[in-house]
Symmetry: C2
Subunit: 534 residues, 2 copies
C-alpha cells in the first residue's frame, strides 16, 4: 500500500515502536511494519540515491527468512529517492530479512517482523486445486466468478468508489482490468478528465522515456489493488494489451523495456495476495509480440514472482499454447465454446488445467456485436461453461453504463442470475465436473451421487429419469429438484426415484417405475439430482 | 515389396539387364531395380551374414544422391541372410547410391538407377497444405475420407481381397489399421485360423524375443500396404496399441525394444508413399508409456523417416499435446466434438494443424455404445466435422459385418452419404474453411464467394437469406442450392439473391427483397450458396 495510506492505517500503532524500529534498523530504512498478518503485505521503505536512473541502475532485493522458508523478492524504485521491497509472508512467526543492493545505502539493511495469523477474511492467494478448479492457499474453495472492468483504475474517485460498492453487492470475486491505460484522446467520466498520470515519464508532449516508470501512476494502481483485496476480489491484472495501437507506444516498447516493465510489476505487485497475472488481453492483436516473446515474458513472470500467483494470457485470433508449463489456467476468448454444450470438457482434456472463459460477449446494447447479447444469453453461456466443469467471466456494455470500460454501476439482469448459479454451485457436496464427458453433453456433478443436467435452449415438457450407470447400482435412490436458472427458483419434485438397469443399454439406469418428470416447457431449465440414503 | 512379388512384377524387364545390374554392382547385391517411377519403392536386396543377431548387431544404411538431393535411409534385416534398403526417389533422373555397414558384405555397395516420371495415379506422399488441409506431393488435393479396419492384415486372403475390393468401390481413401496384432485367443474368419505369423520371434510358446523381428510377419504387411497403395488408399499405420493388455507383451516391451521396433518400421515402410504414421491408437490406455515416452518415439519417427510422412497419435482419455512440433495433424477421438456444431474451428485454432476426427463412433448394432450409432448420426458427425473445416473417419461395426476389425464387406448406409459429401466437397472452387468462426456455428466456405450452411438436426421450414457481411458489398448476387445430405439430392432454388446491408446490424447482409427460402422441414439439410456474376 502507498505510504500515506499505510501511515493512516497505523494510527493505532505505538509511535514509540516505530521510532524504535527505525533506530534498530540500518540507516537506509525509512519505514517497516513490525507486525503483518499472514498473506498481508510487508513493506520495507528505504532511502537511497536518485542519482542517474535508479530504475535502470539500481539492483535491490531482500532475503526473508522464517525457519526453513526463504523468499527473495526484488525491490523497486518509487521516486524521490525512496525504494521499496514488498513481501507477502506465508507463515506465522518471526521473519528476518536482509537487503542486497549495488547502492551502498540500500545494501545490508537488516530487520525482522512478526507475522500474525491471517484475519478471518484472508485466505491467502488463489491457486489451482483438483486440476480443474481453484482454492485459496488455506484450502478454502475459490470459484471464479469474474467480471470485466478494463479501465476502472483510470477513473475519478467517485467512479472508483462506485465500482467498489458495486462489486461488494454483486457475485463477482475476480476483476479483469488493464495495468496500462489504452490510448484514448481523453478519459472522460461525467465530463471530467481524470487520467492525470501515465506509467512512464513524459519527457515532452507524450514522448515517453520507457526506462523511467512514473511512481505516481503506480501508486494509484497500488491503491486500486488494495481496495479490491479489502473486499475479497481477485485482481486479474492485464500486463499488456493492444489497445494502444502504437499511438503512445506502450504496446511496442521492445522486449528490453517489456522485460523491465514485467520485473517492475513483479516487484511492486507480487506481494498482494489477490493478484493474478494476465500476460495480455487479446494477445495476438499486439503485432509486436509473437508467441516466442510471450514465452519469454511468461518465464520472467514465473521467475520473478516469488509466490507463484496464477498466470495466463487472453487470446484474440491466435491462441497461445496453454499447454506450456508456465500457464496455470486457460483464459480463453472463444464465444462459440460456450454457445453449445459439451465443449468445456474437451478443453479440460486438451489442457488438463482449469478453464476460464474470460470473454464470452457482454450483456449490453452497443453496436459492436461482442457487446450486445441479452442477459438470458449471457447466463446461458455461464451455465454451458459451468456444466462443462469450467468457469466464465461477466461483462456489461450498455451504452448507458459501459461497465466493462469504466466500472461504476451495473444495470443488467445477468448478475442476479449469476449469483443464483454461484450459490447453487456453492451449495453442494461435490464440485461440478463432467460426468461421462465423451457421451453426455450437458451433465456435471459426481457420478453416483450428484448430477446437474442443464437443458439450455431446449424447452422440454418432460424428462424420463435415465442416468449413466457409472458408479450406480440397482436400488440407489434419488431426489430431484427442478431449477429455473432464469427465474431463479429451485422446486423439489415430490417423489423418490430408484434406479434399475435400463434394458438393452449397458450404460444407463432408469427409474424402476419409468418415472417421467414434468418440466415447465421453457428454456434454461436444469435438474439437480442427489442421492439420498436408502 | 517382397522379393517374390517383385520378381513376378518384373517379368517384362529384360533378364539381361538384371544380370548386368548384378554384375556391375558390388558382390553383396542380390537384386535392385534399374528403373523406378518417382515416389515408387526402389529396393536394394543385399546378401549379408546372419551370424549373431543381425537385427541388433548390423548397422546398415545407404546414401542416395541425385544432383543436390540426398537421402540416407536405413536398411533392415529380412531374414535368411538377406538385408534390404528401401528408398522412395523424389526426383526424376539418375540416382546413385552407396551402402554403409559394419558388416563387410554390406559395406560399400554402389550403384545407380533411373527414376522415371510418376504414373498418372501416383501423386506422391500426402502432406499438410494450407495449414488445415492436405495435398499430395505433386500438389493434387487430398481430402482424407478415412475408414477403420484395425485387423485387416491378419485375415485370410479371401477376406483381404474382399477388403481391397470394398475399398475400391467406396469413398474411402485412408485406412487406419494396426501394424501389430491385438491379443485374441485366435483369429477366426469363416472358421479359419489365419494369424500364422507374429511380429517377433517365438522362442517357445508365445515367449517372444523382442530383439528378433519375424520377417514373415512383416512381408505380409509389406504386401498389404502395397495393395492399398495400388488402389490409392493411404495406410494410416498404427504402430502401438493397448489391445494386447500385456498378454503377449507387445504393448510393454520397454523403451529400448520400442525404439528398435520404430526404427525397423521406418526402415521397412518409410519408402511407401502412402504411409501415415499413427504412433498409437488410444495411446493413454497403454499404461506402460507416458507422454514423455511418446515424445521420444515421435522424435525417433521424425528422425528416421527420411521423407517426413504425416505423424499423429490417437488418444483415449489423456490427449497428447498435438501442439508439439513433430505432430503434423490432429488425430482425435472425442465424440462430442462432432455431435455439436462449431467445435472443429476451435480445435483448428488451438492446434493450427489439420484436424482429423479419427474415431467418432461407428455405424452399427453391437452392444458397445461406441459401435451402435445410426448411419444418420454418423453422417451428421461427418458433416459437423467438415463444416468446421475438419475431416472425419468412418467405421462400421454391425454384428454381421465387423468391418472395423476384419474388413471384408460393408453393409451400412453411411458410405453412400459420405461419398455424396466427398463429391460435394470436391465439386467446389474453394476449400471448406470456417467463415466467421467466432460467431457462426455451422458455416464453411469462402467469405464473399461460397457458403455451405449445415442445419444438422434442426428441421427448418424456411431460411431467411442473411449472411455475414465479411467480404460482401451491396449488389453481390448469389444462387442457392438445397442439399439433402441424407437423401443425397441437390436442388437449385430458382431465384437470384442480391444482398444489401441488414438494418441495425453492422455484421450482416440480407437479400434486398427479404427473400425467405422454403426448406423441407426435415433434418440434415444444408445450403450451398455461390456468388454469381453480376
Amino acid at each position: 500500500m502507498p505510504l500515506n495510506t499505510y501511515l493512516k492505517k497505523q494510527t493505532n500503532m505505538k509511535f514509540l515502536k516505530i521510532l524504535l524500529l527505525i533506530f534498530i534498523s540500518s540507516y537506509g530504512v525509512l519505514m517497516a511494519q513490525e507486525e503483518v498478518e499472514k498473506w498481508g503485505v510487508f513493506e520495507l521503505v528505504l532511502e537511497g540515491s536518485d542519482v542517474g536512473n535508479p530504475f535502470l541502475e539500481t539492483d535491490l532485493h531482500a532475503v526473508f527468512f522464517h525457519k526453513d522458508t526463504t523468499f527473495s523478492p526484488e525491490g523497486f524504485y518509487d521516486g524521490n529517492g525512496v525504494f521499496k521491497i514488498r513481501f507477502m509472508p506465508t507463515r506465522e512467526g518471526t521473519w528476518t530479512y536482509k537487503t542486497f543492493s549495488n547502492q551502498e545505502e540500500l545494501e545490508g539493511n537488516e530487520g525482522e517482523f512478526f507475522c500474525t495469523p491471517a484475519g478471518s477474511e484472508n485466505h491467502g492467494r488463489v491457486k489451482v486445486a483438483e486440476q480443474y478448479h481453484f482454492e485459496y492457499e488455506d484450502g478454502t474453495e475459490f470459484m471464479p466468478f469474474g467480471t470485466t472492468i478494463y479501465e476502472w483504475t483510470f477513473q475519478n474517485e467517485s467512479t472508483k468508489a462506485a465500482t467498489i460498492e458495486t462489486l461488494k453487492n454483486n457475485p463477482f470475486n475476480k476483476a479483469r482490468f488493464l495495468a496500462i491505460p489504452p490510448h484514448k484522446e481523453k478519459y472522460i467520466d461525467g465530463g471530467e478528465l481524470h487520467l492525470k498520470d501515465y506509467p512512464f515519464e513524459d519527457t515532452g508532449k507524450e514522448d515517453w522515456d520507457f526506462t523511467r516508470f512514473n511512481p505516481e501512476f503506480f501508486k494509484n494502481l497500488d491503491e486500486c489493488i488494495t481496495r479490491l483485496n479489502e473486499i475479497g476480489v481477485e485482481a486479474d491484472l492485464v500486463l499488456f494489451h493492444p489497445y494502444d495501437k502504437g499511438k503512445w507506444g506502450f504496446d511496442m516498447m521492445g522486449m528490453e523495456n517489456n522485460l523491465r516493465y514485467v520485473r517492475y510489476m513483479m516487484a511492486r505487485y507480487a506481494a498482494y495476495k489477490n493478484i493474478w497475472w494476465s500476460l495480455a488481453n487479446e494477445n495476438s492483436f499486439i503485432k509486436d509480440l509473437d508467441d516466442e516473446d510471450w514465452d519469454i515474458l511468461f518465464k520472467e513472470v514465473q521467475e520473478k514472482d516469488p509466490y507463484g500467483h496464477l498466470r495466463s494470457i487472453h487470446n484474440a485470433g491466435r491462441i497461445y499454447d496453454y499447454n506450456r508449463p508456465w500457464v496455470t489456467h486457460v483464459s480463453l476468448q472463444y464465444y462459440n465454446a460456450v454457445r453449445v454444450p459439451g465443449v468445456s470438457p474437451l478443453l479440460r482434456d486438451i489442457y488438463r488445467k482449469p478453464i476460464v472463459h474470460d470473454e464470452i460477449n457482454y450483456e449490453g446494447d452497443i453496436e459492436k456485436r461482442w457487446g450486445r447479447i441479452s442477459a438470458e444469453e449471457l447466463v446461458f453461456r455461464f451455465w454451458n461453461a459451468a456444466i462443462g466443469g469450467a468457469y466464465a467471466t461477466h461483462g456489461e456494455s450498455y451504452e448507458e453504463s459501459d461497465w466493462i470500460s469504466h466500472g461504476g454501476t451495473l444495470i443488467g439482469e445477468s448478475p442476479a442470475r449469476i449469483e443464483f448459479m454461484k450459490n447453487l454451485m456453492a451449495d453442494k457436496p461435490w464440485k461440478w465436473n463432467p460426468i461421462d464427458q465423451y457421451y453426455e453433453l450437458n451433465m456435471a456433478g459426481k457420478a453416483g451421487l450428484y448430477y446437474l443436467i442443464y437443458f439450455g435452449e431446449e424447452a422440454l415438457e418432460d424428462w424420463a429419469f435415465v442416468l449413466p450407470n457409472k458408479e450406480l447400482k440397482s436400488g440407489a435412490k434419488f431426489k430431484v429438484e427442478i431449477i429455473d436458472t432464469w427465474g431463479m427458483t429451485v422446486v423439489p419434485v415430490d417423489q423418490v426415484f430408484e434406479v434399475v438397469p435400463l434394458e438393452g443399454d449397458g450404460y444407463k439406469v432408469r427409474d424402476k417405475d419409468n418415472a417421467v418428470i414434468s418440466l415447465p416447457g421453457q428454456k434454461y431449465i436444469a435438474l439437480r439430482i442427489q442421492r439420498i440414503k436408502d
